[in-house]
């Protein structure tokens, strides 16, 4: 089963943000979307979630064009972690996570599910805290827990579930970055699909199974991390020089050049 974007052309106002982007994400894999600021990553993700309709092209999830699906049909098969969430009322963490259960048919009070999700994101004791009083990193993980309860089982009777993450580790410290990336990778390993916008190329190299590199509203490379994360491609897209090093265990790690080191 796949999540496929075909020739997505998209305008915001009069500006054409995406100039015909293709992406094929497979269930069971973690797909990373990388690229410099303003390359259209978030816009592409918003098209994948169904939030904005492309001017042309379509998004097909588990064999169905999402353009014809209602929010209530999409919610049980894909959850979204936005880049940031602002909140104007004093909700507790538990109340925020519960919002993820809006479209589900949990028979009981959902407490067990909420508790389990908070544990998975490393916040087992935060259910009673006020969301507004948490740090940015904690808020982001609460939102991730909210997305997780929405599609708790990576595979349902009608196919895989899709976790769409917009910079899931942007405001996290290094330990929490690993917690969240491992969680995402685990979700994919169990048969779910994960599509994540990534800023950190080293985390991308460590965790992604499939990478889409974007530049100025186009997909300039798509493939395995080894194929996409090359000196030539990254330097071209990011406009600076990166040195790719290979680890003994077949991984890669990247260093920016010219840092005066």
């Amino acid at each position: 089963m796949r999540l496929q974007a075909r020739d997505i052309r998209l305008y915001l106002g009069r500006a054409e943000i995406l100039h015909g982007v293709d992406l094929t994400a497979h269930a069971g894999r973690l797909t990373a979307i990388i690229g410099p600021n303003g390359s259209g990553k978030t816009t592409l993700l918003r098209a994948l979630t169904g939030e904005i309709a492309p001017a042309s092209g379509n998004v097909v999830m588990n064999g169905r064009d999402i353009a014809g699906m209602r929010p209530g049909e999409l919610a049980p098969i894909r959850a979204v972690l936005p880049q940031q969430s602002v909140l104007s009322f004093p909700f507790t963490v538990a109340e925020i996570v519960r919002i993820g259960l809006t479209s589900s048919h949990v028979q009981d009070d959902g407490h067990a599910l909420i508790r389990a999700a908070l544990s998975r994101v490393g916040l087992p004791d935060h259910a009673g805290r006020l969301y507004q009083e948490l740090s940015g990193g904690e808020q982001q993980r609460v939102q991730l827990a909210r997305a997780l309860v929405q599609i708790w089982h990576p595979v349902g009777s009608d196919g895989p579930r899709w976790l769409l993450l917009d910079e899931p580790v942007s405001s996290l410290d290094i330990a929490q970055q690993l917690t969240v990336m491992r969680l995402a990778a685990e979700y994919a390993r169990q048969g779910g699909g994960v599509v994540a916008i990534m800023h950190d190329l080293n985390l991308t190299a460590m965790f992604a199974d499939h990478v889409l590199l974007m530049q100025e509203g186009r997909a300039v490379a798509e493939g395995s991390p080894v194929d996409v994360l090359t000196d030539h491609r990254l330097s071209g897209a990011y406009g600076c020089c990166l040195q790719i090093n290979h680890t003994p265990s077949d991984g890669v790690w990247l260093l920016p050049q010219g840092a005066g080191l």
């Binding site: 909700f91 507790t92 599910l113 805290r129 909210r146 990576p154």
Partner: protein, 356 residues
């Protein structure tokens, strides 16, 4: 996947049981306040005694019956419906705008209702007799509903762009809308005759003194319908708290929730204003107090706002009847005297959000 821990222990941070218990106590409070209000008035009629006689089939004095069933009872029911209607309007509007400062009275929605009512009172005579006859007593509430709906729709259109609501734009647009509506209302009042002016003055002070079965039957069902439907918005408004995009992601039909919220607010505010004039601040005080007690989850907030709003208005009405007895102080003055400072307090405690 991680096995779920099915321990029956209550989850910290889940305040729904508090909302549910509070609903019970607020219901009890409303019953008590209602009995008190029924027995409270210029004439020394004992409400419990008359009710007891009525139930047991005893003879009731004619004056007692008139006082209780034709004066106090419609006033009581009107006060309950208007209080509940204004409080629920406030809660729904705050949920829609994702802002605790949104209030029908402050942002021109009540002014829109007033305009509708004023237009109906002054210009209603210009309508074709057939329409006038068909609308009957419903003309003023319907016109008020139309006016508040228009104000609400314009306000929402201006304040919310691409799914995001700007607090500053909302408040300033509300002021502008209220000012424009006041100007048009002034123009209409300018051409009112003496009898109409008397009707208008009496009505615009905001009072339950004019409550009657006729008015109640005209406007009451509109408020009651809005109250009954409003709890269905709870999940939608909870989702909207995360923003329109996130609400859609969790499966909420955002457009439908927004339309319903605007209609419910307009109906409850419009009919309340039509029946009782401008009673302010109930919509801001009541939901805010409840959020302090049981949190912002709309699951019980909407129901409890209705219950507490009804009680608050009945108490305010009793005060208005007592404070300068035997004369009556318009109830709008009392709610504004308490509500104004309260609003400033809410404003100051949300300063961080407003500056951001």
């Amino acid at each position: 996947m991680v096995a779920l821990d099915a321990s029956g222990e209550r989850l910290a941070g889940d305040r729904r049981h508090l909302g549910r218990s509070l609903a019970f106590w607020l219901f009890a409070l409303l019953a008590a306040v209602a009995m008190l209000s029924l027995g409270h008035g210029a004439s020394g009629v004992s409400a419990p005694q008359v009710l007891l006689d009525w139930f047991t089939g005893h003879e009731i004095a004619r004056t007692d019956r008139v006082v209780l069933f034709d004066i106090r009872l419609p006033r009581l029911l009107t006060g309950m419906l208007v209080g509940a209607g204004l409080a629920v309007s406030g809660a729904v509007m705050q949920g829609l705008f994702r802002n605790p400062l949104a209030d029908p009275g402050l942002l021109g929605v009540s002014a829109g209702a007033s305009l509708g009512a004023i237009a109906a009172i002054v210009l209603g005579g210009l309508l074709p007799p057939a329409i006038l006859a068909a609308a009957g007593w419903h003309l003023v509430p319907l016109a008020a509903f139309a006016g508040s709906w228009l104000a609400m729709a314009v306000l929402y259109g201006i304040a919310t762009q691409q799914g995001k609501t700007s607090v500053a734009t909302m408040l300033l647009a509300g002021i502008a809308i209220a000012a424009m509506i006041a100007a048009v209302s002034g123009l209409i009042i300018y051409r009112a005759d003496d009898q109409q002016l008397r009707d208008l003055t009496f009505w615009s002070l905001g009072s339950l003194a004019g409550a009657s079965w006729v008015k109640l039957l005209a406007a009451g069902p509109v408020i009651a319908a809005a109250l009954v439907v409003s709890p269905l918005l709870a999940r939608g408004l909870n989702g909207l708290a995360l923003g329109e995009a996130a609400a859609a992601h969790v499966g909420i039909r955002v457009q439908r929730v927004k339309t319903a919220a605007i209609l419910i607010t307009a109906a409850a505010t419009g009919a309340s204003v039509a029946i009782s004039g401008g009673i302010g601040f109930v919509g801001i005080v009541v939901p805010h107090l409840l959020r302090l007690l049981t949190g912002p989850d709309h699951r019980w907030l909407l129901v409890n706002s209705g219950l507490l709003g009804a009680s608050v208005l009945l108490v305010a009405d009793m005060v208005s009847r007592t404070i300068i007895a035997p004369a009556e102080l318009p109830i709008g003055i009392i709610t504004a005297m308490i509500g104004g400072p309260f609003f400033l307090w809410v404003l100051l405690s949300n300063r961080r959000m407003l500056d951001g």
